[in-house]
């Protein structure tokens, strides 16, 4: 879900960066199309991850010990979103320099804020899950 927020909000709606905008700056039509191709590859894998997540959720829904609560669900969503922001931010923005959050500025405070958002989402997600772990849930199963 975090991958889609990044891809849809930052790549497409706000157009702050593309998948390879540090290598192919989005200043020509050709470069915009090259970025669009790699954005598509990114979205294809994001879709696959979402499908895997849905399959795991379906499997978890059959386990009686899994607390079937909205807070745990939202916590897990934030945990995944935070993990994505942290991992994608470190690999793409810092290690490989494929792109930066606000490409016009190159590596900037926005890259750091992206990482910090990941840490905050992970902490918030874990807290939401842990506070509800021992609550007996009404299960739809």
């Amino acid at each position: 879900m975090g991958g889609f927020v990044d891809g849809i909000l930052f790549h497409q709606i706000l157009q702050l960066h593309g998948m390879l905008s540090a290598k192919f700056p989005k200043t020509t039509i050709a470069n915009i199309e090259i970025n669009m191709f790699w954005d598509g590859m990114f979205h294809a894998l994001t879709w696959t991850m979402t499908a895997i997540g849905l399959a795991l959720l379906w499997k978890a829904g059959r386990r009686l010990e899994v607390p079937w609560l909205g807070k745990v669900f939202v916590g897990a969503l934030f945990l995944g979103w935070g993990l994505f922001n942290l991992i994608e931010g470190i690999i793409d923005h810092y290690l490989l320099n494929l792109h930066h959050v606000y490409e016009a500025q190159g590596q900037s405070i926005y890259d750091l804020l992206f990482l910090i958002s990941g840490v905050i989402f992970i902490a918030a997600g874990l807290m939401a899950i842990r506070t509800q772990r021992n609550v007996t849930a009404v299960s739809p199963r």
């Binding site: 199309e33 191709f37 790699w38 894998l45 993990l83 991992i87």
Partner: protein, 76 residues
């Protein structure tokens, strides 16, 4: 009647093939050269690298981080 969908599909094929209006232009060739520039494999690995890393992290959260530092049996 059963063949109608297949015939309709055949009729639609040429329009799909010509849907890319820039593929046969200089711009289209520039894009193709940019995407398949001899570093396609390494670029694909770089672009897709966060996903296996994410799966590993998710597995670590789900199953617990493997105890690499498990104390060995004490020698007597």
């Amino acid at each position: 009647m059963r063949r109608l969908p297949y015939l309709a599909g055949l009729l639609l094929l040429p329009s799909v093939a010509s849907a890319c209006m820039v593929c046969d232009t200089e711009l289209g060739h520039q894009v193709q050269r940019g995407v398949f520039d001899g570093h396609f494999g390494s670029t694909a690995v770089a672009v897709l690298l966060p996903f296996p890393a994410f799966l590993l992290a998710a597995a670590a959260v789900h199953f617990g981080v493997p105890k690499l530092m498990t104390p060995t049996t004490k020698r007597k």
